[in-house]
Symmetry: C2
Subunit: 166 residues, 2 copies
């Protein structure tokens, strides 16, 4: 998938533009592979999807207080519209319920008892899949990878949309 490197490396420490590009391509490949594998297992074993699982996961962490839909949207990195659709599906399946809140614009949702049970089973399986997929990474490598990804995330956040548009 990667052509043989044909251009000789420049001498010295001049920033090599291609390096970031290569890191990004590898990052994307890894993320895509994991997503596909996990999505297939969720479909086969639980007849559900990854976005639905992510939604339930956010609510599970939030506890009985639940979360406003907008908060879920920010956590999942998807638009409000997507969250509206997911929420109505999960509610139809009885996995989440709506809470009243003082501000009537806000729709706060939380897991039902059924939702908690289903999520617990899915989360257990999910953790096992991820562990199997990353099994060849030593603890120290995983640690190091986590640190570098944190730095990457900070670099991404520091770069504003305006700066990028340049």
């Amino acid at each position: 998938m990667e052509p043989a490197l044909s251009l000789p490396d420049k001498l010295g420490g001049a920033p090599d533009g291609k390096r970031s590009l290569r890191v990004w391509l590898r990052l994307l490949t890894c993320a895509s592979m994991v997503e596909r594998r996990i999505a297939a297992r969720f479909r086969d074993d639980f007849e559900t999807t990854l976005p639905r699982f992510d939604f339930l996961s956010a609510l599970d962490r939030a506890g009985p207080e639940g979360l406003p839909l907008g908060e879920v949207s920010r956590m999942l990195l998807v638009t409000n519209g997507a969250v509206t659709g997911l929420a109505s599906g999960l509610k139809a399946d009885g996995l989440i319920e709506t809470l009243d809140s003082a501000d009537r614009r806000v729709r706060r949702v939380r897991l039902t008892a059924l939702g908690r049970d289903r999520f617990a089973a899915m989360a257990r399986a999910h953790e096992g899949w991820i562990e199997a997929l990353f099994a060849d990474l030593a603890d120290s490598e995983a640690e190091q990878l986590m640190i570098l990804l944190d730095r990457t995330k900070r670099s991404l956040q520091r770069t504003t949309p305006e700066e990028l548009a340049g």
Copy 2:
């Protein structure tokens, strides 16, 4: 987006199942953030999409021989059906053309002159965006990240679907 770590770490070197999970969540967050930023720029600056760019990119690397659609599908990690749709859009825009091949099941495609020009402009911009997004990573960090992501990729490939199904 990440709750404060509330459970004390277990003693010793017992493999911590949560570690893989945390690596995966960070990986996914980084990939999603980059994808969203880049997709927005492609839309605003070139009125195109990331999958279309990826398609053109594969053809650009392939040269005048072009590629069978199935090959593109494997390179982009998407299904044949998705590639069919992308190809018909790109052909309608005059960016790619179909080549005859001995095996008449195979549809081989390559860039047109227009496609090459458009791709060159997009690739230049794309490289700049990625460079800006990853700018805070030192060369040595990028290097290290690339190595770890390669190991990760190999770990993912080694884990067969059957193994995962458990």
